[in-house]
């Protein structure tokens, strides 16, 4: 989850998110390069006594300020396309989970082997225990095995929602009547938080997502216990 006054991205918990962080650094470096250049030129233009407005022909500079942006855009596009294709790699998931958006909670279905399904409601602020995070905790978390490719099928039962977990680099719109697919691998065990990312009514801000990544044997124990409770 985010720290107070945090400006940048959350720490990456999946390989794709790490790639996205590095790409963002690359793009921001280019942004700083261009911004510094433009700022210097603006200051130089504002402080000049040369004010002749009638300038004819300027083929050299026209060529420069056409070619240079084209080159810069290519330098941005190449790593961007690399990540785009990385995200679409065939990944042979070990587990498929359906995440259904409702007003105003998520429900998860694990139907690969047995029929396991449960709802995930936000824990109200007054019911939080010390150490829990306000507006981020849920009564039932989406538990997954760590370091395993997971496929999430996202849809909605009523209005548009969006299933997002920033530290995993995942966001997928939940559209009623449509099944969207996303996939990820968690690099390390832990608890990862997200929030609904498409306006969906009064409690849009109060339907968070919590993903809990644990080793496989604990995931199997958990799913066995959940099936018994159902």
């Amino acid at each position: 989850m985010a720290h107070p006054s945090q400006l940048g991205f959350q720490d990456a918990a999946s390989p794709i998110m790490e790639e996205l962080l590095h790409f963002h650094d690359h793009a921001l470096m280019i942004v700083f390069l261009i911004s510094t250049l433009v700022l210097y030129i603006i200051v130089a233009m504002v402080t000049t006594k040369l004010t002749n407005k009638f300038i004819l022909d300027s083929q050299e500079i026209e060529i420069i300020w056409t070619l240079l942006p084209a080159i810069i855009l290519i330098l941005i596009a190449l790593p961007s396309l690399r990540i785009l294709y990385l995200m679409d790699e065939i990944n042979d998931p070990h587990l498929t989970i359906k995440a259904m958006g409702h007003q105003w909670y998520w429900s998860y279905e694990y139907t690969d082997y047995e029929d396991l399904g449960f709802d995930s409601y936000m824990i109200p602020t007054q019911d939080l225990t010390p150490g829990q995070f306000r507006l981020l905790e849920t009564d039932h978390r989406m538990v997954i095995p760590v370091e395993s490719p997971i496929r999430v099928l996202v849809s909605a039962e009523d209005v548009l929602h969006s299933w997002a977990v920033p530290s995993l680099g995942v966001k997928m719109d939940a559209v009623p009547g449509r099944l969207n697919q996303t996939a990820f691998i968690t690099s390390r065990p832990g608890v990862f938080y997200g929030q609904c990312s498409e306006i969906c009514g009064a409690n849009h801000s109060f339907m968070p997502i919590v993903v809990e990544a644990v080793p496989l044997e604990y995931f199997e124990n958990w799913s066995f216990l959940m099936l018994q409770d159902a």
Partner: protein
């Protein structure tokens, strides 16, 4: 006595020859500074973190801290 003829042409070109190299130089310095103060340290930090990462040890530490819902601390 006569005054020297002032420079009447090429004033903009002269200004550009002075300022443009500085402008490009400064912007490359800014980009390189960002690369070596932010981008490379971040890549190194992630590489260092995962080089010695023991996921079982970390998982057990998190478990004992009680943060998981699916796995209770070993005493419980």
């Amino acid at each position: 006595m006569s005054l020297a003829k002032p420079m009447m042409r090429g004033l903009l070109a002269k200004r550009l020859r002075f300022h443009l190299p500085i402008a490009f130089g400064l912007s490359f310095v800014a980009a390189i500074a960002f690369k070596y103060m932010v981008t490379e340290p971040r890549k190194q930090a992630y590489a260092d973190f995962y080089k010695q990462y023991d996921s079982v040890k970390e998982f057990n530490a998190m478990r004992e801290a009680g943060i998981f819902q699916s796995v209770r601390p070993s005493g419980e």
